[in-house]
């Protein structure tokens, strides 16, 4: 079996506004960027998508979806008025189990979930909508532990990548996450949507510029300060997982980021960033 590889990585927005019928210039740009990402993923012909979603929150360690064919209808607890999110996708069970095994071997609590009706989160479904609209590509879904730190997420990302290599998969890894986490706490019209404060916008752009310049390690170093200033989505810890999966910090690793789109969703920051390793 040839050794597997991570062929691309993405930061994708997790809010449902980009896929459900709402409109603003910002969301249009993000939606278009998501579509570009989807086309690029399909062109890369991966065997599997590995998705870490900040909206799948776990408390006791990390969880990995281990149901062969999750199906159902999800309604977002905040944005239920935008519509329903039906889902029907396939899990790469072998890769899911290996990811769990390697994460456990690394010293972390990683557990499978295999239950009818287990709630699949909005962020995962938004990513799948653009990257895997026909559900042709198997998926591995990973939760975001509310208490985990940077080291744990980095190593769990590495464990996911090790599992991909060990099983000979061609994988695309995805962090479904927002950027700055401050948002409008009042009702707004779609046209009013913008990054809710200037500092968040500045900090988002600073971080994205580092990624686009290939300074992904510098961006990682900036994350704690960035998260504190912007109330970033789950402290932007998904970035550690993503960099771990892409091989950041390993010998000869060279990761280049390309910002496909940036904008606001209900005042919070969102971006589509494509990484090649």
């Amino acid at each position: 079996m040839p050794e597997g590889q991570i062929v691309k990585g993405y930061i994708m927005p997790g809010m449902p506004h980009v896929m459900l019928p709402t409109e603003s210039a910002s969301r249009r740009e993000l939606r278009d960027a998501c579509r570009v990402a989807g086309a690029n993923v399909r062109e890369a012909r991966p065997d599997v998508l590995v998705i870490f979603s900040t909206q799948w929150v776990s408390v006791l360690g990390h969880l990995v979806q281990a149901r062969a064919n999750p199906t159902g209808l999800h309604v977002d607890e905040n944005w239920y008025d935008l519509g329903n999110l039906p889902y029907d996708f396939r899990t790469d069970l072998e890769l899911a189990r290996r990811t769990i095994d390697l994460g456990t071997a690394a010293g972390f609590q990683v557990r499978p979930v295999d239950y009818e009706g287990f709630p699949v989160d909005t962020g995962t479904l938004v990513a799948l909508n653009f990257l895997n609209p026909k559900n042709e590509i198997p998926v591995v879904c990973v939760s975001c532990n509310i208490y985990s730190g940077s080291d744990e997420e980095l190593k769990l990302g590495q464990a996911a990548a090790d599992a991909v290599r060990a099983l000979g998969r061609r994988a695309v890894v995805v962090a479904s996450t927002g950027l700055s986490g401050h948002y409008f706490t009042r009702e707004i019209t779609d046209d009013e949507d913008r990054i809710v404060n200037e500092q968040d916008d500045v900090e988002n752009r600073k971080l994205l510029d580092l990624m686009a310049a290939g300074k992904v390690m510098d961006a990682m170093d900036l994350v704690p300060e960035y998260a504190a200033k912007t109330g970033a989505d789950m402290q932007f810890k998904s970035y550690y997982w993503l960099m771990g999966a892409l091989g950041s910090g390993r010998v000869n690793s060279k990761i280049v980021g390309k910002v496909l789109g940036y904008g606001s969703i209900w005042g919070s920051g969102a971006a589509v960033v494509e990484f090649t390793a």
Binding site: W56, V57, S58, V59, L60, G61, L73, H74, V75, E77, N78, Y80, D81, N84, Q109, R111, V113, Y115, E116, G117, F118, P119, Y147, Y183, F184, T185, R186, E187, W266
Partner: protein, 308 residues
């Protein structure tokens, strides 16, 4: 429903799914050999009380429906489905089916807006009730023969500050009370939250969650805090309770922060009647108490404004 409505009773009604799991009701798929009996027996008392009171509705404020923009109310006549707990799916996979009091939902929505709050009506019939609402509702009324109304927990105490959050909950409490009065309901309120909230970061034995030899409070300090606030409740020392709650939340990570208790106390007019503590125990180390304020024998006072 004629006449002016009233709040007949309020409960702190914690929602660990372990309590449903320990009971083995037909609605829940996983089976157990029991566990957490002290809390379940405490809920037995509440069930009996609710049967006697014959309320028209049970209103639940739940921290597991966390909303970003305003306070949301369930506003579809019936909600039904399978609720799988995202944290403890091995314990809680529950088939729920409940009537929603939509007329009261409309009234709470209107009164909340009259208070200057942002409010929304949740009108999607496919909405999956959160497990906080379901566990609390089940433990109070397992027959589900009384309509419920679920209120979301707005994120304000976490996004802004505890003070902002409390202020909002006082307003929502007043709004709820007026809505109950205007619609003529006899209502039971339920603040669905634990007390101290530090917990184990691993289940002692995921294959036997009901192993009570492994269950204990997180720390003696947390236990003492829980006892301190329970004593204030039992002695009816409402002003002291309100003044100590912020420190309690800070020291113990109490889930009270999410707002339900503040909402309920405000709606009840900050009653000075002694509360009845039906039981206290830990669940995966968090402190849980089932507490009752019986207002059925009294006219509701007008104390809400005094603290707002």
């Amino acid at each position: 429903m004629a006449g002016k409505g009233s709040i007949v009773c309020g409960f702190i009604a914690p929602h660990p799914p372990h309590l449903v799991y320990g009971e083995n009701p037909p609605q829940n798929i996983p089976r157990s050999s029991g566990g957490w009996e002290v809390l379940r027996w405490a809920y037995d008392n509440c069930r009996e009380k609710i049967k006697q009171l014959k309320p028209d509705v049970i209103i639940v404020h739940t921290p597991h429906w966390m909303t970003l923009v305003g306070h949301h109310v369930t506003r579809v006549p019936r909600l039904k489905g399978l609720s799988v707990d995202p944290i403890f799916p091995h314990l809680f996979r529950y088939n729920f089916d409940t009537a929603i009091d939509v007329e009261l939902a409309d009234a709470v929505y209107e009164e909340a807006r009259a208070e200057g709050l942002i409010a929304r009506k949740m009108t999607n019939p496919n909405f999956r009730l959160d497990y906080g609402t379901i566990v609390t509702s089940h433990m109070l009324n397992p027959g589900w023969d009384i309509p419920i109304l679920s209120l979301s927990a707005n994120n304000s105490p976490y996004y802004f500050s505890l003070g902002v959050g409390i202020e909002e909950m006082y307003k929502l409490g007043r709004a709820t009370r007026r809505a109950i009065e205007k619609t003529g309901r006899r209502a039971v309120l339920a603040a669905s939250n634990t007390l101290s909230h530090f917990h184990f970061d691993r289940e002692p034995d995921p294959n036997l969650p009901e192993d009570m030899s492994k269950e204990h409070v997180f720390s003696h300090a947390n236990y003492l805090w829980d006892m301190r606030v329970l004593r204030l409740m039992r002695e009816g020392r409402m002003d002291e309770l309100l003044s100590v709650l912020p420190e309690f939340i800070e020291k113990t990570g109490a889930e009270v922060k999410s707002g339900g208790l503040f909402w309920m106390l405000a709606a009840m007019g900050f009653p000075k009647v002694p509360a009845r503590v039906h039981g206290y125990w830990s669940v995966i180390a968090t402190g849980n108490a089932v507490v009752e304020w019986d207002l059925s024998a009294e006219l509701n006072g007008a104390g809400a404004e005094a603290h707002a």
